[in-house]
């Protein structure tokens, strides 16, 4: 071991090197996430350009009140996350645990609302391949819209779920006094991931729910 500090891993010279390495690592990871979702946005764009009316018709069938509420929930969770990172920077352990707990709760609320929304979609026979019924014109293309709707929101929800797991883990670590004003990199890094998941939703929401709502 070249360093004496227990929170610094053996391969690093000091805490500063470890912190900058972790930060660069998470930013690169976020870049891969953007490319991951980029494929879905590209597939959406190409398909929508070909079938604009069907996408507008499909979009009108989505559940705007629930999705709008969910947007508010997720944006609020980003605020509580940012306040958590701020608390970590000050070394305020109880505030940190509190904000992280609230962020986890809001993340769970998002998933719960999403589940309710999926149930309504199912009851309205909007699930492609399994149970899809649509009386209007271009039914196949509307089904394609709902395929992308489920795919994109599903992959996003999976990211929320992973985020909740990470946040819960660091909340437990924080309650066991694992972090201090000098060392809170895991909080910082998880926060960046959580914000990215939020930002992606801010693109997903308008392209799926708000195409033609005037």
């Amino acid at each position: 071991m070249a360093n004496g500090d227990a929170s610094v891993a053996a391969q690093f010279d000091d805490a500063e090197q470890q912190r900058t390495a972790s930060n660069l690592g998470i930013w690169i990871f976020l870049a891969t996430e953007i490319l991951f979702f980029g494929v879905l946005f590209a597939a959406y764009a190409i398909t929508r350009v070909r079938f604009p009316e069907a996408f507008a018709a499909g979009s009108r069938l989505t559940n705007l009140p629930l999705a709008g509420t969910n947007t508010a929930v997720l944006v609020t969770s980003s605020l509580t996350m940012a306040l958590g990172v701020h608390a970590a920077r000050r070394g305020a352990r109880r505030a940190l645990v509190g904000w992280l707990g609230l962020t986890v709760a809001l993340g769970c609320a998002f998933l719960a609302i999403k589940a309710v929304e999926y149930r309504f979609d199912y009851l309205e026979h909007l699930v492609p391949s399994l149970d899809f019924r649509y009386a209007g014109p271009q039914a196949d293309q509307v089904e394609l819209f709902f395929y992308l709707y489920f795919f994109i929101t599903g992959v996003h929800a999976l990211h929320v779920l992973i985020g909740i797991g990470c946040l819960a883990t660091i909340a437990v670590m924080a309650s066991r006094n694992a972090f201090s004003a000098a060392y809170f990199t895991p909080v910082d890094v998880t926060g960046l991931y959580w914000h990215l998941v939020d930002v992606i939703w801010l693109f997903v929401f308008p392209i799926l729910y708000l195409i033609s709502r005037s």
Binding site: A21, T32, L35, F36, G38, R50, S129
Partner: protein, 538 residues
């Protein structure tokens, strides 16, 4: 302390030797060896498929295997060789071993991620082998829709899942390398003192990180479309098959550079060492590597000239493809200029490296034929394409991989390989390779399409030549396996720096201690400060 403990110094190999110490190791050097063993096994499977293909093509009629089996053979050959050998070949083995040592670090930035990446790779490999054992896949390695999504009745889902999982191992390796190279360089190791191998790993890692997610999501879309019968690729469902091709090649063209850029890094290290000259135009070499990686992202459409993409798109992709040849040519010229007035010696690594330069040049130049819109209409989907990319990937990447394995073998194992056998094998591989693939240029020019098990009788002579070359090539790949394993026990003990080479990895013991360096090295000179007075013999 007894005398045995003093006789051989403590090193990364001697610190614990049981299953647990290997399968839970966080040491980048051991993980590099885990990868080497894994990809060697997979190379064997991919190579066996190639051997069956070449055997079947000895005769104009497919006599050895059925047409369906033939389709599965070339698919498994492609899938395994691309994703389970070539992509990880140099980065995950030599890169894992060398990146921390070359920058003067104790390990990669994230050792646990590094181990996780190996487990993901093994998991992906197992899925793919399952697909093979369960009956195979027949879509070709490209998984083109709608064949993969709708019509093929083979094990597409399992194979795609394997590639998907292995993709995450690529991403984690790339991420680890970028962070390590940015953050963990030893004091005095500035960006422009980095060995060119590190520059090549850096460029490769950027491609791994930025391209692989696109493939992963595309395969996921394809697999879901196959499972649920609805999706964005099959035209019968309202999808667009060209979209699949765009997304696939957005990854798979840069993936070619994942294979060959590391090879360029290896060749740079070897050529400069065995001619005792500093690399000519070091900065241009570094910039050229980055330029190749950057341009590599903008040329994917040249795989789709005859797919129905617009003529304007085709023209632009053609122009951009020609532009990639500029940094590639800079590299070839600079390797050649490095040799000029050098004190050249022809040890086995040098023979492999020179073979790489020559074969890569042929592979690159024939790429320009294919980048020309009009000519590509004639040559597309013929053996000309097969020969072209094998010159780049096998003549280029695999030759350099073997060169690198020989060059760093003393460092990795602490043993010298048998030089005579190694030189013989390097020359045998070069001859076997050319005999295998040069006739395929001619076959392609004459119009023999790829992926067909049958051909008109007048093509037989070229196919027989090619198959004969393939058998030489097989010896070229089996021999190192034998004599390198032999050397582990019977090879002469290697000194710390058997080649009198420059670079931090040669300043520590062979094999290195677990923490690589007993004290953090301080770099005071430029890379490749070679002088002709010292011979590589040491």
């Amino acid at each position: 302390m007894n005398s045995a403990a003093i006789a051989s110094h403590e090193n990364y190999l001697s610190s614990g030797w049981n299953w647990g110490s290997w399968l839970t190791t966080l040491d980048h050097k051991r993980i590099g060896i885990l990868y080497t063993v894994t990809i060697t096994l997979l190379f064997g499977i991919g190579g066996a498929a190639a051997a069956m293909i070449r055997l079947d093509l000895l005769t104009p009629h497919s006599q050895l295997v059925s047409i369906e089996t033939y389709n599965k053979l070339f698919t498994m050959h492609g899938v395994i060789m691309v994703w389970f050998f070539l992509i990880p070949s140099i980065p995950a083995t030599l890169g894992n071993f060398l990146v921390p040592m070359m920058v003067g670090a104790r390990d990669l930035a994230f050792p646990r991620l590094n181990l996780a990446s190996w487990y993901l790779f093994v998991g992906g490999g197992l899925f793919t082998i399952y697909a093979l054992l369960a009956g195979g896949v027949d879509t070709g390695w490209t998984f083109y829709a709608p064949y993969s999504t709708t019509f093929s009745s083979s094990h597409v889902f399992a194979a795609a899942t394997g590639v998907f999982i292995a993709g995450f191992s690529s991403i984690l390796t790339g991420l680890n390398f970028v962070v390590t190279i940015h953050e963990m360089r030893a004091p005095g190791m500035t960006w422009f003192r980095l060995p060119l191998f590190i520059w090549s790993m850096y460029a490769t890692s950027l491609i791994l990180v930025l391209a692989t997610p696109v493939l992963a999501m595309t395969l996921m879309l394809m697999a879901i479309e196959r499972t649920f019968g609805i999706g964005v690729f099959d035209p019968a469902l309202g999808g667009d098959p060209l979209l699949f091709q765009h997304l696939f090649w957005f990854y798979s063209h840069p993936a070619v550079y994942i294979m060959v850029v590391p090879a360029m890094g290896v060749a740079s290290e070897i050529v400069t060492c065995f001619c005792r000259n500093p690399v000519f135009g070091y900065r241009f070499m570094a910039y050229a590597i980055l330029a190749i990686a950057a341009f590599g992202f903008l040329v994917w459409g040249h795989h789709m000239f005859v797919s129905g993409q617009s003529a304007y798109a085709g023209t632009v992709f053609s122009l951009l493809t020609f532009l990639v040849s500029v940094p590639s040519a800079i590299k070839v010229f600079n390797w050649t200029a490095t040799l000029y007035k050098g004190h050249v010696s022809f040890q086995a690594p040098m023979l492999y490296a020179l073979g790489f330069v020559g074969l890569f040049t042929i592979g690159g130049l024939t790429g320009l034929f294919l980048a020309s819109l009009g000519l590509d209409v004639q040559l597309h989907d013929t053996y000309f394409v097969v020969a072209h990319f094998h010159y780049v990937m096998v003549g280029g990447a695999v030759m350099a991989f073997f060169g690198g394995i020989h060059f760093w073998w003393p460092k990795i194992t602490g043993r010298m390989y048998p030089e005579g056998w190694a030189r013989f094998t390097a020359i045998l591989t070069f001859i076997g390779f050319n005999l295998t693939f040069f006739p395929q240029f001619i076959l392609g020019y004459l119009g023999m399409p790829r992926r067909y098990p049958e051909y008109p009788p007048e093509f037989q002579v070229w196919n027989v030549l090619s198959s004969a070359g393939a058998s030489l090539l097989a010896f070229g790949y089996v021999l190192p396996l034998i004599y390198l394993l032999w050397s582990l026990r019977y090879g002469a003990r290697a000194p710390a720096n058997p080649w009198n080479a420059k670079g931090l990895e040669w300043e520590t013991a062979s094999p290195p201690p677990t923490e690589n360096f007993h004290t953090t090295p301080v770099v005071t000179e430029e890379a490749y400060a070679y002088s002709r007075a010292e011979s590589p013999h040491g």
